[in-house]
């Protein structure tokens, strides 16, 4: 779910393909908010920082498999597709093709995080101290 939450709608569409399996919407795509909590000082008393938009969806496939989607943002279509994919992933064996697609998505997200981290690392300061009289 963490990988799908970070994937774009078109990425999930590409994994699922054009033909969607028959499914019931147990919870139609719905946008609401989640209050984001922080902690004073990072580790202390909880406080409400502010809300964030979240869209959720719950589906059931013909064979009874349930799929859930919860992700930041307001994309109802993405939530529906992610819920269908979540349900199908639960039916599939560890080495199935959908799981491989999702692993590839996860690898792409990890690579993007790594690139951002390396770009930040390029701005790391190397201090040197000027020695008097040297």
């Amino acid at each position: 779910m963490a990988v799908l939450a970070r994937a774009s709608r078109s990425e999930i569409e590409a994994v699922l393909g054009a033909d969607l399996p028959a499914h019931d919407l147990l919870k139609a795509p719905e946008t609401g908010t989640v209050m984001v909590e922080g902690r004073a000082g990072g580790a202390g008393r909880r406080f409400n920082l502010g809300e964030a938009t979240v869209t959720r969806c719950v589906v059931r496939l013909a064979d009874g498999a349930m799929g859930f989607a919860y992700a930041l943002g307001r994309d109802g279509r993405k939530a529906r597709l992610a819920a269908i994919l979540d349900a199908r992933l639960q039916q599939e064996a560890e080495t199935g093709p959908l799981r491989q697609h999702v692993s590839a998505l996860a690898a792409r997200q990890a690579a993007a995080r790594d690139l951002a981290s390396r770009k930040a690392a390029a701005t790391k300061v190397d201090f040197f101290t000027l020695v008097r009289g040297a």
Partner: protein, 373 residues
């Protein structure tokens, strides 16, 4: 007294059309897209998200477009929209120690675990215009930052925690039972306000107001001598436990800015002198906001340390009642709405006072010559 007046519908409809035209500007210039605002005016979007108290960069960009770049009007639009959404619940508290860091600096330690990472900042720019950004004058290829061969450390300790390990820093621990925080959008605030209320109010408060108050503390209207222990900017995952699942799911990442301000000591018979803290946290890249918040947070802790609340930044009622720019703008700007009946009353009163004064003076004039004789 407010008396409803009718009429003006046609004028109001016409002003809607006129403001739409004003918003569009010269039609010979291409219209700006919401995605362009989101990507290229991200710091303005961050301010709208904070003051609108809703983290959604697309909506913040739309609000800025619709409000012609008026940040407070944009925050108002976001607040109004937020009230139409159901709330699914509260997230788990975000863990900023696990932030994917893009920027992290400390003014207290030169060498610290994880290092000083400048990230994207205007701090070391010369504030000279870059005329190459003028349309039609752009270089063929925008600058491409060269990544380092290795990424940053996966986790970086928060700087106050380094001081805390030596016992030199005021501890920051959840109170007994780790209670749910107060929510000022659901319950009325009373005073004295607890720290969770103050932090929520400042997180959605006006950046300019908090900046001014933070500045006042530094200039002597408050007794703090602060150092930036740490500022960090980056992405943090948000976890939420849906009722139907019963376990935490990862909703994705949000960008946060955190500021830990280190202030001078306090101590008592029982506790040896320790540095004290101020804390700021904001959506998006919003350093000035997070820093200002952390200065005022420390000032508002004066009661906890037995300091007199002498200055505005130390008075929770003053700070919390005036930090919200949507409320403040509403009350200030309502003055331009029709007050015709109120004003008629005032006019009637001043005319009567003047008539009575004239009458009194006439009576006195009649009396004076007799007295002189």
């Amino acid at each position: 007294m407010y008396v409803a007046v009718k009429g003006g519908e046609a004028a109001i409809l016409a002003t809607h059309d006129l403001v739409a035209e004003a918003r569009r500007g010269d039609e010979a210039v291409p219209e700006i897209s919401v995605a362009q605002i989101r990507e290229q005016q991200a710091l303005a979007c961050a301010r709208v998200m904070n003051e609108g108290s809703l983290c959604d960069p697309d909506l913040a960009a739309l609000a800025l477009k619709q409000a012609q770049g008026d940040v407070i009007e944009a925050a108002f639009l976001v607040r109004a929209y937020r009230t139409t959404l159901p709330r699914f619940g509260s997230s788990e508290p975000v863990d900023t120690a696990r932030m994917a860091i893009r920027r992290r600096v400390s003014a207290t330690y030169k060498d610290l675990p994880g290092g000083q990472v400048l990230g994207p900042t205007y701090d070391y720019t010369h504030r000279l215009f870059d005329f190459a950004l003028m349309e039609g004058d752009r270089p063929e290829q925008p600058a491409k930052p060269l990544p380092a061969s290795d990424g940053l450390d996966q986790t970086m300790p928060r700087v106050p925690d380094i001081l805390g390990a030596e016992g030199l820093m005021e501890a920051e621990e959840p109170p007994e039972g780790d209670p749910r925080p107060f929510d000022l959008t659901r319950e009325p605030v009373s005073f004295p306000a607890a720290r969770d209320v103050r932090l929520q109010a400042m997180a959605r408060g006006d950046e300019g107001f908090l900046l001014g108050l933070g500045y006042s503390v530094q200039r002597g209207f408050g007794g703090n001598h602060p150092f930036v222990g740490e500022i960090r900017v980056g992405e943090v995952s948000v976890a939420f436990v849906p009722e139907e699942l019963g376990f935490a799911v990862d909703l994705g990442d949000i960008t946060l800015t955190e500021c830990q301000m280190v202030n001078q000591f306090t101590g008592s018979k029982e506790v040896a002198p320790q540095f004290t803290r101020g804390y700021g946290l904001a959506f998006g890249h919003a350093e000035r906001k997070a820093m200002s918040m952390s200065l005022v947070d420390r000032a508002l802790k004066c009661r906890d340390f037995g300091e007199a609340a002498t200055y505005p930044a130390q008075q929770d009622e003053f700070v919390l009642y005036h930090a919200d720019n949507v409320e403040a703008a509403g009350f200030v700007e309502h003055l331009k709405l029709p007050h015709y009946v109120d004003f008629q009353g005032e006019l009637e009163l001043i005319r009567r006072i003047r008539r009575e004064r004239e009458a009194r003076r006439a009576a006195d004039d009649d009396a004076v010559p007799e007295a002189a004789e």
